[in-house]
Amino acid sequence: MPFSYDPTFTPPFPRLPVIVTPIESGAQSAALSGLIDTGADATLIPQAQLQAIKAKEIYRARLRSHWGESRTVSVHLVDLQVAGHNLPGIEVIAEDLTEDVLLGRNVLNRLILLLDGPGASADVVTRRPGRR
């Protein structure tokens, strides 16, 4: 099922619905809008969302921007559901400066994505287009 790009960005941003679940319990986050960001090494979830579901921190890391500024962040292990696809045991970074959910390559590289720019829709497919 295709999901429309987020039109509040210019140009519009491809996005997918994301649900975050702590490994050890069934508590779930609300459905979040995850921005598809192939430039991000890691996946970022707002800290408030992770605190709300009591996701446990497992280590600290440094998060660096394209131009080199970096800061210390906490990394949590959670189960993700992205566009209905279950991804167990995913490391996510708690983001305390913005409310954006960024789906980085640690998640995107597990999925086959179809980005239809002119149609402004994104989808996760189970088979590569053009292959049988």
Binding site: I23, D37, L44, K56, E57, H66, S70, T72, V73, I93
Partner: protein, 127 residues
């Protein structure tokens, strides 16, 4: 009256003049000193976060040969000791959670030599 007019014109002329380099620099410094300091993590790190920081520092200070015994696996470190290890991070997480509850537990790849660094390569255009 004429003197007043001359004074006003002189004041306007000074205001309309472009600022000197020294004035521009002083202005920039004054503006930047008004900016709110950036939020830095660390000041409000939780007790669990501080424990993890200490565990992590101790772990990476260990001799490389000692850490390499667990190459290809994740290690769970508690109180400075490796309490469990497994190539499956999620299975390890569940096992140590069952044994130690919600105590802070460091779970890292044994192959790392230092705190990992992730980069966000995607700058955004502000409009």
């Amino acid at each position: 009256m004429l003197q007043n007019r001359t004074t006003v014109i002189e004041q306007v002329r000074r205001l309309a003049m472009p600022p000197s380099s020294a004035d521009r620099l002083a202005l920039i410094r004054a503006i930047t000193s008004l900016e709110t300091p950036k939020r830095e993590r660390g000041a409000n790190v939780s007790a669990d976060g501080q424990t993890l920081d200490a565990e992590q520092e101790t772990w990476f200070a260990r001799p490389s040969a000692e850490r390499k015994r667990y190459a290809g696996e994740y290690v769970a470190v508690h109180g400075g000791e490796v309490v469990d290890h497994d190539p499956d991070q999620r299975a390890l997480y569940l096992r140590v959670l069952a044994r130690y509850g919600h105590q802070p537990m460091l779970i890292v790849r044994a192959d790392w030599n230092t705190t990992p660094e992730f980069t966000i390569h995607s700058p955004r255009l502000e409009r």
